[in-house]
């Protein structure tokens, strides 16, 4: 049986990759994908902890997080598409009208 710490290590790596993606990627879609990676890291951690506690609550929480992620995709892609239609770019560096 795979120990819980291995799952947690993998989840930590996924989360770190997602975080690096959010901080370094310059395309809105890639930033968004990185956020999804972070959410899945959290899901993996929840499932691993649920197994180690022998408690189904954590697994039900994963379903809810997945639903939230799906809703977030719907909203996020709508915003990104709305911007792309007007500007033909989703590079976040081009969105710099607001500052100060």
């Amino acid at each position: 049986m795979v120990p819980t710490t291995s799952y947690l290590a993998l989840s930590g790596i996924l989360f770190a990759l997602g975080m690096i993606g959010v901080l370094t990627r310059r395309t809105a879609i890639m930033v968004f994908l990185s956020v999804e990676l972070m959410l899945n890291a959290a899901n993996l951690a929840l499932v691993a902890f649920a197994r180690s506690w022998g408690d189904p609550t954590g697994q039900t929480a994963v379903f809810i997080v997945m639903t939230l992620a799906a809703a977030e995709v719907a909203i996020g892609l709508a915003i990104i598409v709305a911007i792309f239609r007007k500007r033909e770019t989703t590079n976040v560096d081009d969105l710099a009208a607001l500052k100060g």
């Binding site: 968004f32 929840l46 954590g58 939230l68 915003i79 709305a82 100060g100």
Partner: protein, 482 residues
């Protein structure tokens, strides 16, 4: 063996009423005008507030304690509904000028309020998370809905940073669950006292990740970067909603999670203190060098996050009471100030501070009201902002965070400068033509402004009208439930 929890909908009543308003806006939008729907929603908000009063002292809960209509929930719910009412009144006048006068706007607004109330009523982390996401997702749409380049930019920034913040928060939630084996506030609070040492590290990590996630939502520095862009770029009535109702709800979540469930968890107090110190310095100093009034108010909202957050450093009894009082006052004064900006601005960018010169001679009522709001935001004595600041300073000071109180007092002095400069400019005579929208003074906005100004004045002179409710000793001791 799994038990079927009792699924009573009575404690949900205030949330269901707001949700009914949201659904009616979604469905009836095909037939009715937006203005009619706004009146329906105002009715729903008032009915919801009445149902809060009806639930008072009943201390109901349902779904096995996942949803709790305790005193804390009802008080925070009232603050949320007060902010919503003011937002709806302001949008009656300004939505058509902001080009957001369509039913979907009201629907999104009311869905967001549903989420906000769900956070205040939450009894476990999952319900809190669902509420938080309903609120955040609706707010992203609200910020973008205008469809102008500025609004779209603010919406995308809000969405990307907000989604990253949510992901960090959910990761923290997973670790808190991993350390305690439960998602229920009461069970977490019970187990944090008797953890085995291996799990303490996981708990501290989870608590700090959740703190960062909430930091994004309430705009604690260094997670505040989106705030001025979003509040400045979104239509002013939306900024009003985001900087009052949404922030109150995020603080309600922090209060539930940190002062309730994680009260005995080690570590997060000192990190929160450092974040608050950074917020106070960054927010107040950045506000000093703003030339646009709306953007200055956005930085003032960041600075106030620091002041409000100080309440969480106090003991739950003192801090909860201080936060409960200050949140209502903050909502009233910020909403009234932004309502005046929404009414008088020519474009959704707001107006620059120098354009406010001589405002008193053109719109005497609004100028005096704005001066009262600014004085209250600055924390000058007869107004309620002073008492709110005093309470949060005291809560932090008594719990051993004297240095934060001193720093907050020092930055308040800097705040005096940027709040009082526009207030003084308004009363200086000016011969140049008016640069604000001449027809902005309309009845519903005036009503919202009057509510805010009367609120900060009356609560400043007679603080016990509201403080007597929030300072009741047993309210904040059982934020996590029993």
């Amino acid at each position: 063996m799994l038990q079927v929890p009792e699924a009573s909908l009575t404690p949900l009543l205030p949330i269901l009423l707001v949700l009914a308003g949201a659904i009616s806006s979604t469905l009836l939008g095909f037939w009715l005008s937006r203005r009619t729907l706004t009146f329906i929603n105002i009715g729903a908000v008032v009915a919801s507030a009445v149902s809060l009063g009806w639930l008072w002292n009943r201390d109901l809960s349902s779904f096995g304690g996942s949803l709790r209509a305790d005193h804390a929930a009802l008080l925070l719910g009232f603050v949320i509904l007060a902010g919503t009412l003011m937002t709806l009144l302001v949008t009656l006048d300004t939505a058509w000028r902001a080009r957001v006068s369509f039913p979907e706007f009201d629907a999104m607004l009311m869905y967001a309020v549903t989420g906000c109330l769900l956070i205040a009523f939450s009894g476990d982390l999952i319900v809190m998370l669902i509420g938080l996401e309903i609120m955040s997702l609706s707010s992203y749409v609200l910020a973008t809905l205008q469809g102008s380049r500025r609004a779209e930019e603010s919406g995308l920034k809000y969405f990307l940073l907000g989604a990253a913040g949510s992901a960090v928060l959910i990761y923290g939630l997973a670790f808190v669950y991993g350390a305690t084996g439960s998602l229920n506030y009461a069970a977490i609070a019970e187990k944090t006292g008797t953890l085995n040492p291996d799990n303490v590290g996981i708990l501290v990590g989870g608590a700090l990740l959740m703190l960062c996630g909430f930091g994004f939502k309430v705009a604690l520095a260094p997670f505040h970067q989106w705030t001025p862009d979003v509040y400045g770029g979104a239509p002013t009535s939306v900024s009003l909603f985001l900087s009052t109702v949404v922030k109150v709800a995020a603080f309600a979540g922090m209060l539930r999670v940190f002062s309730g469930a994680l009260e005995n968890a080690p570590g997060w107090h000192s990190v929160l203190a450092v974040l608050i110190a950074a917020t106070l310095i960054v927010g107040n100093l950045a506000a000093l060098r703003q030339t646009n009034f709306k953007r200055m108010l956005a930085y003032s909202a960041v600075a106030h996050t620091g002041f409000l957050g100080m309440a969480l450093l106090g003991t739950p009894a003192a801090g909860g009471a201080a936060l409960g009082y200050y949140l209502l006052v903050y909502t009233l004064m910020t909403a009234a100030a932004l309502a005046i900006v929404a009414a008088l601005q020519r474009s959704e960018e707001g107006f620059s501070i120098t354009d406010m010169r001589g405002l008193y001679y053109r719109h005497p009522g609004y100028a005096v009201a704005l001066a009262v709001c600014l004085a209250s935001l600055a924390g000058l004595p007869p107004f309620a902002g002073f008492f709110g600041k005093y309470l949060v300073f005291q809560a932090a000071f008594q719990n051993g965070y004297a240095w934060i109180s001193v720093l907050a007092a020092l930055t308040s002095v800097a705040a005096l400068v940027y709040y009082l400069r526009p207030a003084m400019l308004m009363f200086m005579p000016d011969r140049t033509p008016a640069r604000e929208y001449g027809l902005g003074q309309r009845a519903p906005t005036t009503l919202a402004v009057a509510l805010g100004v009367a609120g900060v004045t009356v609560l400043g002179l007679l603080p016990n009208l509201w403080y007597a409710f929030v300072a009741h000793p047993d309210i904040w001791g059982m934020l996590a439930g029993r």
